[in-house]
Symmetry: C2
Amino acid sequence: MTMNAALPGALRAATPVYSDPAVAFIAANDFDRSTLVISRDRVAAQYDALHAGLGRAHIHYAVKANPAPEIIRLLVKKGSGFDAASRAEIELCLSQGAKPGNISFGNTIKRASDIAFAHSAGVTLFAADSEAELDKIAAHAPGARVYIRLIVENSLADWPLSRKFGCAASALPALLDHAKAVGLVPYGLSFHVGSQTRKAEFWNPVLDQIAPLWNAAIAAGHDLQLLNLGGGFPAFYGEHVEAPRIYAASVMRAVAARFGNVPQVMAEPGRGLVAEAGHIAAEVLLVSRKSADDMHRWVYLDIGRFSGLAETEGEAIRYQFVTKHDGGDTGPCILAGPSCDSADILYEKRPINLPLALGCGDKVVIRNCGAYTSSYSSVGFNGFPPLDVIVL
Amino acid sequence: MTMNAALPGALRAATPVYSDPAVAFIAANDFDRSTLVISRDRVAAQYDALHAGLGRAHIHYAVKANPAPEIIRLLVKKGSGFDAASRAEIELCLSQGAKPGNISFGNTIKRASDIAFAHSAGVTLFAADSEAELDKIAAHAPGARVYIRLIVENSLADWPLSRKFGCAASALPALLDHAKAVGLVPYGLSFHVGSQTRKAEFWNPVLDQIAPLWNAAIAAGHDLQLLNLGGGFPAFYGEHVEAPRIYAASVMRAVAARFGNVPQVMAEPGRGLVAEAGHIAAEVLLVSRKSADDMHRWVYLDIGRFSGLAETEGEAIRYQFVTKHDGGDTGPCILAGPSCDSADILYEKRPINLPLALGCGDKVVIRNCGAYTSSYSSVGFNGFPPLDVIVL
């Protein structure tokens, strides 16, 4: 990256997006390779907004969304907890000052040796959704607190989750009993409404599924303490989302209406905390048509599905693009990455509109890329380096 | 990785698969994390077989399939050329002793500065499929030889390629003329039959498309020298494929029948050269059912789509699995990776059969993973390390 005083004027234009520190930084600099620029001030502001809306619910940041150490350190200072997916994420949080009591090991698929590590490090809260996992936890973290993850049916999220995580409602009673039988503390329940759940009201049918299970567990004699709401807090990708404080407060009202005064509530925002704080500086490598009568241009960027934009799989997450030509005439484009992989196409079924003036070498800002980009990036597919990250 | 003398007997059983050096190595060792073990002897044998079948066609190994430096060095000694996708791949080949004249820059989407680097390093052969790319090459590698890549219609490959690469047949004459007009040498044509083209006869309809274009270009006065056959050479994933020498010889007969005595022929095997030489040592992290009446088990491995098995996307490539329980009763499984990502599922639409005795901690050998695994691996999604690689 080199400083560059001579900038595309449009990237500095006085529209709201340019008051964003990461966008301003991208506009003011040139980059040798695609780079994620993320602003701690924006993460802090988002944390404050979610925290205000969530009230007494404790935030456990989903580290997998963006494991930049500077972000972890900031959130430690803010009082956040952490939802870790692996031993390395636990080590990361500890290295940045997190207390083990503020770290939950939320992956329901854990290596036995990683459970033992977490236990030895002082982590006492683990997720499970099966007998076999409970047995592993009992063997390697005896006496730990566990929360059972439930499958959610009929998610209304933009990215509904698969059935990979969670047990069926019918399996819950036996799992709670089993946890107790193997010496664990059945501490609570968790679920996930689905990633990018754009409207707070979409939580209602999910909470309606979980509440009777919670009450039945209590009635069966389990002294549940923790309701873990999981993630699902949305980011702006072009379609309207409510402001984070209002959204979170609505969710908490819906929780209170169904669960009453649950002793502890936890939420695990990842995308909702960091996505809007970061943007990617990318470059156009080629603009072409396959033939003279091709209706669509093909626009090839220096970043693709294997170098940071994995969430474009199935065209699920539709990023927004800012160029110096914005405001001019536009036309439909198929957008693709730079690798020699034919699957490395970002948007084809639903082409995107980009300025007709766009050409090789033009800088493109991909907005709201703070989550699920840098750590998804491949180590070097096709010889392209992983996504660079600059934390402001 | 630690040595372990006490081994699952079945992994050492005297079946053909265990005569493979990488399988034997996996059986004889324990691994702390999922690891690709790849045998240079097997790569060498595969190179020899393809070389024998391809005859006068020069092999340019598709480096992206597996960029392990030891493999590149071996292939340099064998006399192979290299198809590079990026500056880093060119640098890798040069560092392992490849002559720049044996390296082609085969990506049709190149960064201008990478073209300039390649030119300065002595690379003289470049791919293009558009006027804009030809202009970039002319500006940064003046006088270079270029081959024009064509789109192939109606591929019969297991993994047909998208329209991302190549120009339509109708665009070819203008591109050849443009190359000459900007001072480049229109040197040849290239195409790609599609990845994992299992039968040599599937090449015929593709060659039938390309041959008239080649002849028309010659008739138009272009002194074409090079026919680049691309890749598509298959690996064994459970469905029958012809032996590499026989397959390659069949392809060359089909080429000769349609193109006659083309001055130079090039082939770019990647998967077909390295896939069968490598296997992944993985571990079962969890086996569970979502409810008591769940028809399928879920089997979770310590490797998934984001840590090396990206080619399971859409369940396109179906790997084969070897366990110490093979031979016992089996049942259908949904197979998934270890990350907290709901998309990290390997096989669900078409579940796979695995032994009912399979349990947490069991070693699993994933066969024929030498291609498109290690370099696809993410830098650390969910805190999981990239796929480890051991070259024998």
